[in-house]
Amino acid sequence: MEPADTAPPIIRVENLEHRYGDFTAVDTISFTVKKGEIFSFLGPNGAGKSTVINILITLLARQKGTAVVAGFDVTTQPQQVRESIGIVFQDITLDRDMTVREILEFHGRLYNMPMAERKARIDELLKLVQLDSKRDELTKRLSGGMKRRLEIARGLMTRPKILFLDEPTIGLDPQTRMRMWEYIKNVNNEGTTIFLTTHYMDEADQLSDRISIIDHGKIVITGTSGELKNTLGRDLIYLETDNNDAAIRILKDVAAVRDIREKSGGFILTVHEDGTRILPSLIDTLRKSGIEISTINLKKPTMDDVFVHYTGKELRDEGAAPARAMHIQPRGR
């Protein structure tokens, strides 16, 4: 169910800029989010993701540029924007001393929902996020995954047109993360547009319809996961040899090779053609020049590769496993 491209975007951002003193956190960003899609901002911590989200949800005053959310300008119509959106913040923002039901009740009241509707919606949402049995539990007694689910339920309480998720699975174990993704997909299937930020490659990859890679306050590239990967060619080949410099010089002139990047101890080729077919001839070429190959690895480009390619670096922080290890070991996917 691809949304029609002719429909007006549900979020439209043009030349958005935001500074904290001398530091430019968001540097003339423009993008659109289509109605009904899951759109991701993928980038390391400090890339400017949260700043953009905070402007879109009207918590941070817009400094420069245009931001229109659900048809309303964030600066001139903040009230209407607030009524149209749901938010799940980056850190847990649940009152530890309120019960699950009270959290939702409070939220419904904040948004001026009539009592009957609040009641019905709470029942409905607690079933959706499977917290029915925890209804009268204080939130401090919930597990991390349950808290997150409750926050998602809260974000959905007012049936928002857009749900903003700022790093929705940060700090959750792998199993819980997968389940969170299921919840998010279900919510999206019911028609809610989702805007999420993440620094997890797999999260952006598996969850999103479209991804913008953001780094140093700029959008580096936008596209579907497939499109982004395709920009890297068909396959990635990692090689370690006894003379990497010579090997790179030789391989540069091979027609099928698209790009070569050095890594510590070896280098990565991106190739236009099916890697499994051209690899034997590459090996041959190197052997003939007297270069010994010690390690070979062939794989399809992943989101990690896309990220490294476009930002020129591996993720700066704890977010993902060290990218180097992944290049050497073949991965399941």
Partner: protein, 278 residues
């Protein structure tokens, strides 16, 4: 959104009732002040002032009764000033973001917090009055039932206005600050002069001129004027001093508190409208 304040109020009351230790201590503390400080001081002062001649037929009240009004005022001051800390915790734990990102107007947020503070002060004031009477304070002595009812209502009206003023002040400071320690520091700094430059524990007319002027316009003094008028009466002798509180004085004191609360609301509104919590 006109009832948005009630949402904030509702949540704050849930927490007030839920934190059992906080609830009990906040109710017990004023009673303990009355019990220990009140009884200790009055047993001394009443002895000292016993020799002072009083005109026949005058309404003489003991020190416990005199300072009981001061204790109600002091408790209201402390509770109101320190209530801002909740806002700071909400802010630091991210809970404030949910509220600020909602369509609920910021005025309503301030109002909700203030009303729950007023409620708490009401409960405390009533406890002090009841407990005071229990240990011998002559509140409402010689009042008829309707007079007592008017007295209680008058006291609560004064307490409400005064509490609002300091709640707004506290909220305004809290929303502008980062650390609870800093807030605590400011509040402690504020309470000292407000409490002692007032007529809570002693008469102020023998003060040096400057201190006297400060004390007369101190909102705490205005509050205590009102409480004494409604709890003791317009004409009484305490600590050897003759107190005459006219209806005009009461109206003026009340008006002073209205102005004070209004200014503090404006201050809080200004701070809240500029608050960026992300």
């Amino acid at each position: 959104m006109a009832y948005g304040f009630f949402t904030i109020y509702w949540r704050d009351m849930i927490r007030f009732v839920r934190f059992k230790t906080l609830l009990v201590s906040s109710l017990l503390q004023p009673a303990l002040w009355m019990a220990f400080f009140g009884i200790a001081m009055s047993s001394n002062f009443d002895q000292l002032t016993a020799g002072i001649p009083v005109p026949p037929g005058a309404h003489v009240v003991g020190y416990l009764t005199f300072m009981g009004a001061g204790i109600i005022a002091m408790t209201t001051l402390f509770t109101s000033l320190f209530s801002g800390i909740v806002i700071l915790f909400d802010k630091n734990w991210g809970l404030m973001r949910e509220i600020l990102a909602s369509p609920t107007d910021r005025n309503q947020i301030i109002l909700g917090i203030a009303l729950s503070g007023v409620t708490k002060s009401f409960i405390q004031a009533i406890i002090i009055m009841a407990f005071g009477i229990l240990i011998g304070a002559a509140f409402f002595a010689g009042f008829t039932l309707p007079e007592t009812a008017i007295g209680v209502a008058g006291i609560l009206a004064f307490v409400a206005l005064f509490a609002l003023g300091f709640l707004f002040l506290s909220a305004a400071i809290a929303i502008s600050m980062e650390s609870p320690e800093g807030l605590q520091g400011i509040m402690t700094l504020l309470t000292m002069p407000i409490f002692f430059a007032s007529n809570a524990l002693y008469p102020i007319d023998t003060f040096p001129e400057i201190l006297k002027i400060i004390s007369i316009y101190n909102p705490l003094t205005l509050l205590i004027n009102g409480i004494r008028y409604f709890a003791i009466g317009p004409d009484f002798i305490a600590m050897g001093k003759h107190y005459l509180i006219s209806q005009g004085d009461v109206v003026l004191s009340f008006a002073g508190l209205v102005v004070f609360a209004a200014i503090m609301f404006a201050f809080a509104y200004w701070r809240f409208s500029r608050a960026v919590v992300t």
